[in-house]
Amino acid sequence: MVKIEFLGPIGKETIELDAKNLSDVASELNKDKNISIWLEKSAVALNDTIVNSLDLPLKDGDRISILPPVCGG
């Protein structure tokens, strides 16, 4: 199982999923319209490192963070 956490204004509790890679995570999360509207403008981190590929293999206990648009300062 991997954990998915939704940061900042998304306002959704952390969930757990069975997923081999980020493509699996994408398919699962896109089933929920309230989440998919955030995904098109959100960056993704795997264990606190921003990632850019859907092919990355996932292992048990991995933590994925969804980061919506930012505005510091």
């Binding site: 940061l7 900042g8 204004p9 980020l22 995570v25 994408a26 999360l29 896109n30 998919s36 995904l39 098109e40 403008k41 959100s42 960056a43 993704v44 981190a45 606190d48 490192t49 921003i50 990632v51 850019n52 590929s53 859907l54 963070s65 969804i66 980061l67 919506p68 648009p69 930012v70 505005c71 510091g72 300062g73």
Partner: protein, 149 residues
């Protein structure tokens, strides 16, 4: 050196004074601070901030490394939670032996901060906390998990 995160508004004079002490006697020619102050507009009483620290620290470490390669140091302080109008939520600074490197670096550092530091801003209006969506920027790599069809 870490990012300094404070609950509520920043004590600008104290933070800048502390940073100045760090370079006292070092023969460095430039100390260039940027102090961000919450403006009164659209009936807001305050801004409010969420921060995701693990990624903010990594982002800042990369900037410390970039600064080091140019012989400079970057500093940053930011507020967590509510920050009333006319007070400060953000201070960035560059210290360097030479002026030119510091002026270039402060510009790049503050702009990249706006685009890629994992901090979320909300307006406090009539006691409600509203995400500042229209002023927010998708981070580099955003949309990875979006359905392509």
């Amino acid at each position: 050196m870490m990012v300094e995160i404070y609950s509520g508004p920043l004590d600008v004079k104290e933070i800048l004074s502390k940073w100045l002490d760090e370079i006292d006697g070092k023969n460095w020619g430039a100390f260039i601070p940027f102090v961000g102050i919450v403006r009164e507009e659209d009936d807001i009483a305050a801004l409010s901030f969420d921060i995701y620290e693990p990624i903010l620290l990594k982002w800042f470490e990369e900037w410390q490394e970039k600064a080091k390669q140019r012989g400079a140091i970057v500093k940053m302080a930011h507020s967590l939670g509510d920050v009333p109008i006319f007070t400060s939520s953000y201070i960035a600074a560059v210290m360097s032996p030479k002026r030119r490197a510091a002026l270039t670096l402060i510009d790049e550092f503050v702009e990249d901060f706006k685009a890629n530091a994992p901090i979320w801003k909300y307006d406090i209006v009539d006691g409600k906390r509203v995400y500042a969506q229209s002023r927010s920027t998708p981070m580099i790599g955003a949309g990875l998990l979006s359905k392509k069809d």
